[in-house]
Symmetry: C4
Subunit: 194 residues, 4 copies
């Protein structure tokens, strides 16, 4: 079984998620600057979630590009990742509308942590199905993948100290991941050259 339809379905789900999030941004009733002001935190949360979903799509793209064999376990590991990502619009809306509250901010970290763990499970499942693949070698020392959960685990309780600390950590993680996964990319290029 090849990766074609798995990629198509994942692309479909991620494309819908990244766009229905905008439905949380409801057009205000007023028409002056004051009407836009309460939307600012929601808009900033939307930008953050858009970037996070973009990062997942990019990394998912690289991950499956280096994969050749699909089995039932990989299908379910992929659906598990999509499940946590599907909660992003909900948690974005809750955090965006309650940006001064600790619990929504901490919950955002919980959903992101679970999505990160699900991504790690998917990666491990793929490597287990084909241990001698390019991917197995490329993710050898997955530094960013190891730091992110630690940062989320720190951000979740810190949201109860002050939600801005957690927000700053989320923005930091997004910036860290914005740099695409050059390990896989460069390894793939090297293999193709060989």
């Amino acid at each position: 079984m090849n990766t074609g339809r798995l990629e198509a379905f994942s692309d479909g789900v991620m494309a819908v998620l990244i766009t229905i999030m905008v439905l949380e941004l409801k057009p205000p009733h007023g028409t002056d600057w004051a009407a836009l002001e309460p939307l600012t935190p929601l808009f900033l949360t939307y930008v953050l979630s858009f970037v996070f979903l973009g990062i997942y799509w990019n990394n998912h793209h690289h991950l499956l590009h280096a994969t050749h064999r699909i089995n039932g376990a990989i299908l379910w590991a992929n659906l598990h990742l999509l499940f946590w990502l599907s909660l992003v619009p909900f948690i974005t809306g809750w955090m965006g509308e309650n940006h001064f509250a600790a619990l929504p901010t901490a919950s955002y970290g919980v959903v992101m942590l679970c999505a990160g763990v699900a991504y790690y499970i998917l990666q491990t499942t793929i490597i287990r199905a084909d241990p001698h693949s390019t991917l197995a070698a490329a993710v050898g020392n997955d530094l960013k993948g190891k730091i992110s959960p630690v940062l989320y685990l720190a951000a979740i309780p810190l949201a109860f100290v002050h939600q801005l600390i957690a927000d700053a950590i989320y923005v930091f993680i997004a910036c860290m991941w914005l740099i695409p996964d050059r390990r896989i990319e460069s390894r793939l290029n090297r293999d193709e050259r060989v």
Copy 2:
């Protein structure tokens, strides 16, 4: 006519369905644990429906992977399946918001039963179009496909005795199907080896 565009359209519909369901999960107005509590049954129903749609996508993936010829009857049998699946977000929202009521819980079973029957019709239509296919041999004794409708037929009246009995049956069916359809998968692998 090959299966490419039928798969693409079905993937599109199922990807949208599995993600718009989350729109039923509306961000609460409060920001404490008490605000999340009323969402719990809706969230659990969401998880159940996500798993059911995931099962349908997985099985649909296996079914069409073993199919090579498409005709008008298969196109309509497929749309008929998508119709019943399209009611899942509606019925999830109704059951999730009224988890102590019998009728929404029983209706969930009715929609799932109809989707199961529609899947059976699709499978039969595909086999009739190509009776000597791998698929025809693989689904020879479709045990899970025969037990599921019996279980739904039991769950629907039992929801009026106590809705938790029906809920338990739905969870049991989901768990039973979570194991991917190894019959088709193993048969395909065997044929490819030969």
Copy 3:
């Protein structure tokens, strides 16, 4: 330029349309049979629109299957068709919620008539780009394509006499089209055999 991406985009739009329509079906607040009763006309309209969108997808599938060359005019004729189809969820909601009123019922016919005209323009544009194609021969005497607009033109004023007359005509047109376009299908099969 080949038809691949045009089909993918059209499939995407039609897959989203056929599924977001269900968002008009809002879960009722009550939990007894009486709560479902007001949903009945909306549900029946939903079924009708689902069938109409299914017909358009099926015919679009056949139409582009017989097409090999795409130009700018075809891209825009296709977007024009998608525009009218995009109004189907809106008009379904309006007619479904006001099933005893003449104007929503007549408007449903107007949107369907415009979609039909847009499909005819798309078909003509494709044939003009490649006049010696299989398609040009296959649609030689397009009986259903000629009857449908006449029926819609009759249904629109008749909705103001009694909306049930218009409803009956819409159901009749849907039934007429449910039979897939065997002209193109059989002609394609014949050509492939030759």
Copy 4:
């Protein structure tokens, strides 16, 4: 890395955007002509945004058709374009519901200007990755691409003089772009002939 999955994801996002916009068009409660009247400006704004998204899809189609190599920078330039396009349903709803107000009308221009700049960045990133491509030669003197931002920059302050001036400029830009990008198309045909 080839363009296949980038096109599929972009098609998915644009297909969802062009269709969820219709969710801003809520079925009115009344059933007479008076009930439709307040929807008129929203409907006209919907048509305008549909055309703009159609133009972006068409041009994106031509752009990636002339592209053969994808890298991380192109992936992010593409996501940046999709981000601005994702705000179109929001801004369409706000401008459509407040068509006599200056700020929503000006904001529409801001979103469109940003989308135009993002498209320019994507085009430049693609050319930089492959400077000897067909695309680099074809967009040599990109007249429409240079006029559009100037027109948007004029429309934004003019919305505060009278919103109809800005509306007229938006309609003019849409009409200007409706003519597909024949430069790339004709250059591609010429190259294929050679």
